[in-house]
Symmetry: C2
Amino acid sequence: MATVRLIEIKEDILSDNRNLADEIRITLQRHKVFLLNLMASPGGGKTSLILKTISGMKDAFNIGVIEGDIDSMVDAEKVVKEGVPAVQLKTGGFCHLEASMVDMALKEMDLESLNLIIIENIGNLVCPAEFDTGAVKNVMILSVPEGDDKPLKYPLMFSICDVLIVNKIDYLSIADFDMNAVKERVLKLNPGIKIFEVSCKTGEGIEAWIQWLTDEINCYVKKDC
Amino acid sequence: MATVRLIEIKEDILSDNRNLADEIRITLQRHKVFLLNLMASPGGGKTSLILKTISGMKDAFNIGVIEGDIDSMVDAEKVVKEGVPAVQLKTGGFCHLEASMVDMALKEMDLESLNLIIIENIGNLVCPAEFDTGAVKNVMILSVPEGDDKPLKYPLMFSICDVLIVNKIDYLSIADFDMNAVKERVLKLNPGIKIFEVSCKTGEGIEAWIQWLTDEINCYVKKDC
C-alpha cells in the first residue's frame, strides 16, 4: 500500500535557525558584545536611526554594523562615513536575515574591540519576524506615514520585539495616525514592549532611546544593573 | 579607518546547494535511481503529467514521487491513489526546492526498490530554475494558455531544462499561441533542448514522452544506450 510521508521544511529550518541563534548569543556574551536587531518596513528610518544612535553613543561604546540588503551597499557606505566598521550582507533576493547569515558577518568582525553591533535587517515586516538572528534585543520601527493599522496587519512582528520606535513623529500634525490606538493595539499583543516616540529628522525623542540602550548595554556588558 | 566588508549570501548558498546536488547524483547513481525534476507555472499540468507518466510506465519501472508544495497535500494524495509512494515536502512559504530538501525526502524513500523518482517542484518559473535539485534531467512544462512569450520572460528556466513539454495542445485551436515562435525562441536559448507537444487531457503526444523517458532510464540504469 503506497503512502505519503510529510516533511515540514519550514519548521525544520526555523528550529535549526534557533539553535544557531542560541550559539551566537553564547559566543557574544563571552566577548561582551551586545547584538541589536533592527527591523522595519522599507523607508521606515532604520539607517537614520542607526546614524543617530552612532552619533549619540560612539564616544561611550565601540560600535559595528551589519547591513542586510537585497542588492545594494548604500546604507553600509553611510555608516562607514561615521567611522564605524560595517559588514554588508547582500542577500540576492532573500527578504530576511537568518542566524547563519549573521554568523558569517560576525566572523568578519573584530569582536574583541566592539561593545555594540547593530543589525539593519531587510526592510519588511513579515519574514524577519520569524527568524531569530541571535540578537540580545529586537527593535522595530513603525513610522507615522505607514499608518496606525500596522499592529493589526503584522501582529507577529509587534509581538516578538522588545522595543517599538514610532519614528517620524514630525508628521503627526498632518498624518491620520492615532498614537493611542497604536499603543493600545501593540500593548495588547505584547504587554512588555517598550515604546519610544522619535523623529530622526528633528532629533526629538532620540535621547530617551539612547539612554535606554546605554542602560541595557551597561547591564549586559558590565553587569551594571 | 572604518571599512565595509561585503558578503554575497546568494552566491554562497547556491554554491553549497550545487555541491550537495552533486552528492545526491553520486548516491542515486550508486542505487541506480533516475531522478527527474519537473517544473512549471501553477496549473501548467505537473500533476497531470506525473499521473500520465506513472500510468504509462509503472509496469516497467518502480516509481516514487517527491511532491513540493507551499502548503497542501492534495497532489501527493492523487499520486498515492495510483499506488506510488510519495513524500510531501511542505515548504511553508519557500517558492522552490533546494538540494537539502530533496535530500530530506530521499532519506524517507527506499532507494533500493525504486528506479525512477519524479520531483514535482513548486509552481513557478523563477526560483526553481536557480536551484539544482540533484536531478539527472530537468523537465519543464509550458502550457498553451500561458502564452508563447514565456521563453522571453523566463529565459533562465528555458535555458537550464533538458526537455520542454508544451502541454494542453488541445487548446491550440482557440488560443493565440504560435508554436513555431515558441520553438524558435526556446532553441535560440537552448539548442540542445528536446521538445514534446502533448495534451495530458486527450493523451495526445504522451507516448513519445514516455518512450524518451524510458530510453533515458534504460541508458542510465542499465547502461543500455
